[in-house]
Each structure stands twice: as C-alpha cells, then as structure tokens.
Amino acid sequence: MPMKKFVNDPDNLVNELLAGFVLANSGKVALAGNNLVVRAHPKPANKVAVVTLGGSGHEPALSGYVGEGMLDISVPGEIFAAPGPPRVFEALKLANRKAGVLLVVLNHEGDVMTANIAMEMAEKEGLNVKQVLTHEDISVPSRQDPKNRRGLVGCLPVIKVAGAAAEQGKPLDECIAIAERLERNMATLAVAVTGATHPSTGGIIAEVPETDMIVGMGQHGEAGGGQQSLKSADETAKIMIDALCNDLGAKSGDDLLVMINGVGSTTLMEQYVVLGGVKKALDAKGIKLARAIAGEFLTVQEMGGFQMFAAKMDDELLALWDAPCNTPALVVK
C-alpha cells in the first residue's frame, strides 16, 4: 500500500522538517552547525545549559522544547534513530561553559551509545558535562533493572524542571539532583490502538488487530505485550493509572503530575476524556491530581494511542513545573 504522507525526498526529510520548524518558530529557535537546534536568544553563559539528543519523526519532540526555561540545544537524529556522536559532541562543545552542561538522554540503545561516546570525548576535551538518563517505561516491570526500561515522554518533564532550575541560576549539581529526583519518581505506560508508517521507508511499525489495544507499546510501537480487547476511556485510564500508581508506590495524600501524551491520531477529545477517567480513578484512591496536562508532546507519526505519564511531586518540583517557559511546543507564563 503506498504511504499517504506529504513528503519529498526521503533522504532529505530531516533537513526539510528542520527548515520548516525553524520558519514556523523563527523568534524562538535557529539552526547552528550541523543541524543543531539552538535558541534564537541564547541563555546567559553563567547559567547551566541543558542539551538533549534523539531521533526525528516524533515532532514536536525533542527540538520543540528548545527555548527559555527548557533546552538550550537539541541534536535531532534521523527518523526514529539517534544522531551520531560527532554531532552530539559538537553540541556539547557549543554549549560548554563554566556553569556546566546537563545532557538529558532517553534510554534507547542508540541514544545511550551515542551519548556515552560523546561524553568520553567531552571528558577528553575537558568539557564540564554531566549526563542524566531517563528510563521510566513500566511495560518492563522491574524497577530493579532500570537499564531495561525505555525512556518515553518522561524526558520532557525532566527537561522542564531541570531547565527551570538552570534558568534560575542553580548550579549544575543541583540541576542534576532535581532532574534525578523527578526521574526516580516518575513512570510512563503507553497504549496503542493503530500502527504507524515509517515516513522515509514506508515500512509499517506495529500492527494492532482491529478490535484490540496494546498496553505497553514502546516509543516506536515496539510491541511489548499487554494485548487485550479495546476498552472504554475510563476503563483504560483506570488500568493504566493503577499500574503507574502501583509502580510509583503512590498513596493517599500524594501529589501527582499526570500527562496524557497523544502519539499521533488519538484526538485531543479522547485525551481529555481519558484524563477525566484518571481523575476519577485517583479520587477513589485519595491521591491528588496536583497538575495535569494533555496534548501531543512526543508523537510517533500517525500511530493511534497515547502515553500516560505520572510522577510523585514535591513542592520544589511543582514550583519548577509551574515556572515560566517559552518554547515552540510548550509555553508557561
């Protein structure tokens, strides 16, 4: 079946998407060096810089979060594939400063390898860079072996709080401690109802039987078990938030941040209905929905489904979540 996507040359897709992205957000972001996405108005050099890397095809992630209060530089890779170490090293050199650089890395094979090699080179050059790994996908059940947990949409709240801390002038060690505290207290579970097409190869990613949903879908729809008949929004919300609360050990009186991340073709309407279901399930447990957000933050082309993110928040994390940011994909005033 021919792919129904508005693209030109598959080999030039990333260049073309970045060109349009910058045109659409010209006051906020710009391109530097070898397709590095940087702020149009750089942060003062006496503050910690926050950098990330990741495959393309997940728009607005990750480059959509470059801007005041979040990222300084994003290194976009090829479609669904991490950039190589040379460009990440280039970004680290560009971001390097006395205050330090925080590199946020999602736990995927290629991303981690690239980051590790870039970090080794950064060390050799004497750059002041520290790394934080996000791995919060609970479809791999064990917290004991976090290396097997994939990094999903949770990288964004981590970037949000670390970015806010950096913007406030907090030192690198404190930015890291904040990022890691949220990372330890967050969990994500994904559900898929329909698959997606790889926009340059035309290959089908993940197939979901007509009447089913798959709980535990990965970022590119890698199957992860949990196939079951399609349920209502409330039932699905309850299955997922229960699993997340269970993983987090959330109990009555805890403050939760919940994020519903539509991954492509699940409508905002559905996301809102699901969020309502989350509220009902949390009310029944006496857990407070302290903050909630719904929308398309990290997508997988036209895949149907969503990622549900939950985190146990303390006062400082909530304040950093509420702090202003001004990026193409997220604005907090």
Partner: protein
C-alpha cells in the same frame, strides 16, 4: 600485506557490497526493526567512502580513524556507534604501522571487536551483528595463526561471517527493537549480522582485485 592502498580497495569493495544489498538489509530489518537498516548502512558506506577520498594522511591509523568517525556520524541509532567503533578500535591497533600482515590484520579485527563489545551488552546468540563478527574475527585469527596469507585469512573470515549471519535465522532476538517481537523474530537472519557478512565479503574482494 595490507598497505594503505590495499586497505582503501578493501573499504571501497565493502561499501559496494553493502550498497548492492541495501534493499535486502532494509527488508530484513522490517521484521522487528523499523526497516531502515539498509538505508542507514548505505549512508554509513557513503560517509566511509567520503572519508577515504578526503584522507590525505597515507597512514593506516589515520585512515581507519577517519572512517570510524565518519561512520559514527551517520545519525542512524546504534548502527553508527557500533560500526564506527569497530573501525576506530582497529585504528588503535594499526598505530605506527605502514602495512599489516595476516597476523596484524587479525589483531586489528580483534581490537575492533573488543571495542564493539565495550559498547554493547549483546552476546553471541542474541541475534545481533556479534553473531557474524565474533566468528569472523575468530576465524581470521585461526587462519593467521596457521600461517595463511591475508587472502586466505579474509576468505576464512568472510565464510565464518556468512555462516554466522545465516545461523541468526534460527535465533530469537534478545537485543535491539526486534527483541520486542519475541519468537516472531525467528526465521529471518539479523540485518546487522548480514551487514557484517557483506563487509567481510567486500574486504575479501578488495584484496583479491587489488593484489
């Protein structure tokens, strides 16, 4: 002996092999992966050839290092770091040498493999590139130990890589994206192992034509 020019011939032949099989590699990757391995490897080979063209050094170490760095820059997930590390680690083993005999080349391959194994926890049997690379490097060493020529050694290595890649057909993926499809990954050879096999076939062709 493999001197600078012969290494260039080997690398170019490897690139040609991979490019000729680009579609097959992507097709293999579409069982469990996201179907872009052929495209990524073809881009990696283009980067590699560009590095060869741009290299002014006439030093084996510099050439291998440039190739490694170029392959790493391919922006293709784990493929660039793994294949790039192979060449960069080979470069370390070629330091200060104008040419490699069978033993020297086998040692460089072994160094390349050791570099790759530092980057991944995958083992032989996990249905990855290591299922071709480990037997190829072992066979290269055995042939060199037996006093074989560079050509004999590369013939053994490429046969071992091809057999290793072929054996991945019956394996279940335990690494990379394909592990998520579990038993469904059985029946097709691994794309990464197939790429390793193609590269070693190219190396053999390169030394054969550039005698």
């Amino acid at each position: 002996m493999v001197d600078y020019n012969r290494l260039v011939a080997m690398v170019r032949a490897a690139a040609a092999q991979v490019r000729a099989n680009q579609e097959l590699l992507s097709k293999l990757d579409s069982h469990g992966g996201d179907g872009d391995h052929g495209t990524t490897m073809a881009r990696a080979m283009n980067c590699m050839e560009k590095a060869v063209e741009d290299d002014q050094s006439s030093s084996l170490q510099e050439l291998l290092r440039s190739i490694g760095w170029a392959v790493m820059g391919v922006d293709g997930g784990a493929t660039g770091p793994l294949f790039g590390t192979f060449f960069m680690s080979m470069a370390d083993a070629a330091a200060g040498k104008d040419a490699l005999d069978a033993n020297g080349l086998a040692a460089a391959f072994a160094a390349g493999l050791a570099g790759v194994q530092k980057r991944t926890r995958a083992q032989v049997g996990d249905k990855t590139m290591l299922d071709a690379l480990v037997p190829a490097v072992d066979a290269a060493q055995a042939a060199a130990d037996a006093g074989g020529s560079v050509k004999d050694m590369l013939r053994s290595a490429s046969e071992a890589a091809r057999d290793g890649a072929e054996r991945t057909k019956s394996l279940q993926a335990r690494f990379g994206r394909a592990k998520n499809i579990g038993e469904k990954s059985i029946g097709q050879p691994d794309a990464g192992a197939s790429s390793v096999s193609l590269i070693f076939q190219g190396f053999l062709e390169g030394v054969t034509t550039h005698a």
